[in-house]
Amino acid sequence: MDVPLSELATTAHVWDEQHLDLQAAADQVVEAPTSGFTAAVAGAAERFTTTWGRHLTDLAASAESHADGLRETAADLACTDGLVAEGGLALTLQLREIR
């Protein structure tokens, strides 16, 4: 093991934060006001914001997927090394998604 398990857990949390931030960005794009454009442009603007809201939500999901993947890997490696039994609660807590 070249990186400590705690670093995997920390990085997973960082990806969790990115997930939340990207969800916020997705909402921001979806809610961006299109009423300032003329009627000839507003439709294109609305289509853009709706589509990009989905792109950003998918990107957020990727971030969350990386977080989950890291946590699973860390948990597997910890079990393999018998570390969960030794480290007990502290390690388990580190590997948990906080928000």
Partner: protein
């Protein structure tokens, strides 16, 4: 054979244009803030989250998984940024088209009236008037043709602009399009960041670096790395404001999202409060109307750091344009100030802006409040810690003075062309901070003003200690303001007598040598009242009138007040105590 009179045609009406450039700019701002968030993901995937030293099968799987995420994020950030920029340009174009439309409508109304007038003249006119009427009709017809050509050009320009904006949306609608256009494309911001001057660089060095970037790089930095330039002295105000606005919009979206989910931490909630206050400050200024142009007053977010000073926050917002104003004022508030005071301070500088713009002959003005130092404001009984006691000493003012001096140096270094006339106004404990900035570091100001001062720093005993021309050091002290009474008077120096407490000498006293101006309230109470301490920026007050004259450089109009004296046989004597104050209009209204 008689003369044939050909009546000119009725000019076509101008089509309606239903658009709101302000809303289009808000759209662009939202996209730009979102792009900054996406850019952060790209950076993360390539940097902190990469775990490059991790090896093995699991590591390889992880690296293979995040690589495309990073690439996609980088491309999406560039695409979103591009659309945001185009939308901003579109907003500018809409504004121009609306202006042109207004002129066309006016022209059309005039021509319609002229055509109607000619019709009634021609109807029943005697034959001998025919040549003259025909000539008039020909002339009018020519003007109608010119108008019609202008109208056609306007319509064509509108259609072209709409087409261009639709195209901007359409060409990066799908991720495949985004990848084709931006996949693997280097971000101009990255190269610029590689040469970013270190923390110890002077504002002049930072300005040199900034000027050496391409416009593309400058815009990229604003979008992708607003934190690296938004609060950097030496960066031009327009760029700082643009970067800080991206950061503010991003933060509001982030923290409000977390708040909605119910997972926001206490620290984040405090930062969110500071961010909201900054937005409210901007809104408060933009709701004001310039007394000369009657246009909305522009606002610039010059400093934004919601987490500074342990969560108290740092913020500075200007009314007006710091880049081009002829007269600039920087106000430094005092005790009780933190990031959440922003909207309150915004009202003050907006009043000062309006009053200064109402001075006869004044040019462009910018007035900025600066909450850029850790002012004493927290008291333990509100669970905020204890730095409120710092108001009894100068330590926080001394630290703040260094920051203020840097800000003023940065403002000077960041402007092109003719230097602005620059005034620093310290109020309350902010005057102690301003005094320290001047004494300890030197400040590149034309005028230095202390209002409601409890002392300007223990080592500043005379105007000559400020480094500013003595004729341009001013003091405003309301005789009923007990805070202005806290400073040292005459031979009694409290900080000597009380082992370091007290904030220095009274700048309104004769020994100090400042130019004292009238600052009484017309409805002042009979005795000292702490409420008077907050009235120096009120419209129609003596103080705001005089402040506006100083900021405008209209020194002859400043109403002088006699200094406080401190005879050996009595306590301090204030000649303003018994004078009847007068009201002074400080706002030109229609």
């Amino acid at each position: 054979m008689g003369v044939v009179i050909t009546l000119p045609p009725e000019p076509r009406p101008v089509p309606p244009l239903d658009a709101d450039p302000g809303r289009a700019r808000a759209f662009a701002a939202d996209l730009l803030a979102a792009s900054a968030q996406v850019d952060d993901l790209g950076e993360l995937a390539a940097g902190r989250a990469r775990l490059g030293s991790w090896t093995g099968a699991a590591a390889s799987a992880y690296h293979d998984a995040i690589r495309p995420t990073g690439r996609t994020a980088d491309a999406m950030s560039l695409a979103l940024r591009g659309v945001a920029r185009r939308a901003d340009q579109h907003a500018d174009a809409l504004e121009g088209l609306l202006d042109r439309r207004e002129r066309l409508v006016g022209e059309r109304d005039q021509l319609s009236a002229a055509v109607a007038g000619l019709r009634s003249r021609v109807d029943g006119a005697p034959a001998e008037q025919a040549p003259e009427l025909e000539a008039a009709c020909q002339d009018c017809a020519g003007r109608v043709r010119t108008y019609e050509a202008d109208l056609d050009r306007w319509s064509t320009d509108l259609i072209s602009e709409e087409e261009a904006m639709r195209e901007a949306f359409a060409r990066v609608l799908t991720l495949e399009q985004v990848e084709r256009r931006y996949g693997g494309v280097p971000d101009p911001a990255d190269e610029a960041l590689d040469s970013l001057p270190g923390a110890g660089a002077t504002p002049a060095d930072v300005r040199t670096w900034w000027d050496g970037l391409t416009h593309e790089q400058q815009l990229a930095l604003i979008a992708a790395s607003p934190g690296s330039i938004g609060n950097r002295d030496g960066i031009p105000p327009w760029a700082r404001a643009a970067a800080n606005t991206v950061a503010l919009d991003r933060d509001l979206a982030d923290w409000e999202h977390l708040d909605d989910l119910g997972v926001i931490t206490d620290d984040e909630r405090q930062w969110l409060g500071n961010a909201r206050a900054a937005q409210e400050a901007i809104d408060a200024i933009e709701e004001r109307t310039d007394p000369v142009t009657r246009a909305p007053v522009p606002a610039q977010l010059y400093l934004y750091d919601p987490a500074a000073f342990g969560g108290d926050g740092a913020v500075a917002v200007a009314a007006g344009r710091l880049d081009t104003a002829d007269d600039i004022a920087v106000t430094v508030p005092g005790f009780g100030t933190d990031g959440q005071s922003a909207d309150f301070q915004a009202a003050r500088v907006a009043d000062l802006y309006e009053a200064t713009r109402s001075v006869d002959g004044v040019g462009d003005v910018a007035t900025m409040f600066w909450i850029g130092y850790d002012a004493p404001d927290n008291v333990p009984w509100e669970g905020e810690g204890w730095d409120g006691g710092g108001v009894a000493g100068e330590e926080m003012a001394a630290a703040g003075g260094e920051r203020l001096a840097d800000l003023l140096d940065g403002l000077r270094a960041s402007r092109d062309g003719e230097p602005a006339h620059l005034t620093a106004i310290g109020h309350s404990y902010g005057s102690t901070t301003t005094g320290h900035a001047a004494h300890d570091h030197g400040v590149p100001v034309d005028d230095l003003v202390f209002v409601g001062s409890p002392g300007v720093g223990g080592d500043t005993d005379h105007v000559s200690d400020t480094g500013v021309d003595p004729d341009h050091v001013w003091a405003g002290a309301n005789s009923r303001d007990p805070i202005a009474d806290l400073s040292n008077h005459g031979w009694l120096h409290l900080e000597s007598a009380l082992g370091g407490t007290g904030l220095g000498d009274d700048p309104a006293e004769d020994d100090f040598g400042a130019q004292r101006f009238r600052a009484e309230s017309t409805d002042r109470p009979v005795f000292l009242d702490v409420g008077e301490h907050s009235r120096y920026f009120e419209h129609d007050s003596e103080s705001l009138y005089n402040l506006s004259q100083i900021v405008a450089g209209n020194y002859d109009a400043v109403l002088e007040a006699g200094p406080v004296t401190d005879p050996w046989w009595s306590g301090p004597q204030d000649p303003e105590w018994g004078r009847d104050p007068a009201r002074h209009d400080t706002l030109d209204e229609p």
